[in-house]
Symmetry: C2
Subunit: 231 residues, 2 copies
């Protein structure tokens, strides 16, 4: 039995508590960050709070002999200043109240001590999830890449939706294309999968498209078209 304490009450903390509650051989205790003086004995303490609060909470626990890990994609492991420290970062966009299928979630793990990595890997496998050993520098890059594949992609969807709305076209017509584009990346490199007027250098279509866009959309269209053609 591995005893896990989770500090925090946000989305990630709640989903992890649920996940561990359904896992074999894990006993999980959730505490809030004002209960730091009464933390139960555990094999791992997971700090799952906002990025800004991690080092303050970790500092309260600096004399602990227990492995202390945070769940952040952006905070370096060294913001925890106890002997046994680590990162236990589930790379997914969690939605409140929406159940998580942990088996699809990659966990980025980092520790100072190799035995602690084994411990975190056990936690990941108890959730039937997949573990990746990712150091703080790599995690920083993953987070940056995630801005492109999540936030910026989502903004492309927003512009698509706005174009549809403006012309009374149901946006849902594009859902299968959105899904197929996301699926294709798992089998074909995005560079090889690219199609469309930028890729074909179809100047007439590019010109027609630009004429239909507002100035901010034009700027985005132009710079991404250029980047597609040059990369």
């Amino acid at each position: 039995m591995i005893k896990v304490v989770i500090i925090g009450q946000g989305n990630v903390a709640s989903h992890l508590v649920n996940g561990f509650n359904n896992a074999a051989n894990i006993a999980v205790f959730q505490v809030n960050s004002r209960q730091l003086d009464t933390i139960p004995d555990a094999n791992v303490i997971i700090i799952s709070v906002s990025d800004d609060a991690i080092s303050t909470i970790a500092n309260h626990l600096k004399d602990s002999d227990t492995l202390i890990a945070h769940t952040s994609g952006t905070v370096a492991m060294d913001n925890i200043n106890s002997k046994r420290k680590g990162v236990f970062y589930p790379l997914q966009s969690f939605t409140k109240n929406k159940p998580i299928d942990f088996s699809t979630i990659p966990f980025c793990l980092e520790t100072v001590i190799p035995e602690d990595l084994v411990l975190l890997e056990k936690l990941v496998s108890s959730l039937q999830a997949k573990a990746y050993k990712i150091n703080s520098e790599q995690r920083k890059k993953l987070h940056l890449a995630a801005v492109f594949v999540n936030n910026f992609t989502n903004h492309m969807y927003q512009i698509g939706q706005e174009i549809c709305q403006e012309h009374q076209v149901p946006f849902e017509v594009l859902f299968p294309l959105i899904d197929e584009t996301a699926k294709k990346v798992t089998t074909t490199s995005p560079k090889d999968a690219q199609t469309g007027p930028a890729k074909r250098n179809d100047q007439q279509t590019i010109k027609n498209h630009l004429e239909q866009l507002n100035s901010q959309q034009q700027e985005i269209y132009t710079i991404i078209t250029k980047s597609i053609q040059e990369n």
Copy 2:
């Protein structure tokens, strides 16, 4: 029994032939564009060739009494100059030799004569696909929106992959996030679903990110961040 002739031998033509071959009550004949003088009798002739070639082929058939439809997302219906004309546009990115699940594919339909719309709708339902009545102007906008949600999104994936590759991080770690972002758009408007440093106006993270990018990536990052904040 509806008799369908498909002119063309590209991806879309081949997938349609397969689809109709598996459909009840459809007899399908595929011909290539050099066989225009020997086209079998049919209820519908579907021209599925490159955009540039559509009007030339349609012109050969201008005296036909049969409904003639093309499958293009960008060519106006009026590029066909016979009496009974239409558009039969499956809005999806087709990959050669990859089987198609037609039930997930939206068909954008347009005709001059209402009875011909009913005929095209029967073809769509024989494929168990979904039909949308979309006029040429709306189709033009859909195609433009598709550039954002498909080509430009795919380019965001490419930049994400490049960032990962450069730092020896496996890109596959991001696949579940890519999938979740694509799924979320079907239930939540992309504007409401947006998260990340741009949305939070987290200047410190934005500055850190910019420092890690090359100049073209910086330009893209800056203009999309601005657009997220202003829209």
